[in-house]
Symmetry: C2
Subunit: 77 residues, 2 copies
């Protein structure tokens, strides 16, 4: 088994209403922020031989509107 | 300005119904997975002198049920 973290973000150029809402809220509270985007992260342990790209593209994201990154970590124990 | 990514996960030991649902769905589709957890990621650009921990702890997470990690990236351009 290996530990994997998948970062799923709305594609650049697409509306991200959740990000917009967070940005407005932070600015109203005095923080200088910009380009706020909100996405999802899925952490899981998978067997070594898994087709991770198929898993992500078929079951976890909507490829029309989302991009993803995969970070693999070797298992500690 | 600097680019920051904040990873927000449900605390270990707490129920994560979304993670459970994703795990069941992946298993039903033949994937060997375990310990699936679903969290949020917030990417943003902030001024260099910002109190990032205060921003996150006061405005982005519920510290009773969520943990977070901050990843800082220097701005490319």
């Amino acid at each position: 088994m290996k530990s994997v973290r998948i970062i799923i973000m709305p594609k650049e150029g697409l509306l991200d209403p959740q990000g917009r809402a967070v940005e407005e809220m932070l600015k109203e509270n005095g923080f200088q922020v910009s380009n706020v985007r909100v996405g999802k992260v899925v952490e899981l342990e998978v067997s070594e031989d898994i087709d991770l790209h198929r898993l992500v593209e078929k079951y976890l994201i909507n490829p029309l509107i989302e991009n993803y990154e995969i970070e693999e970590h070797s298992k500690k124990d």
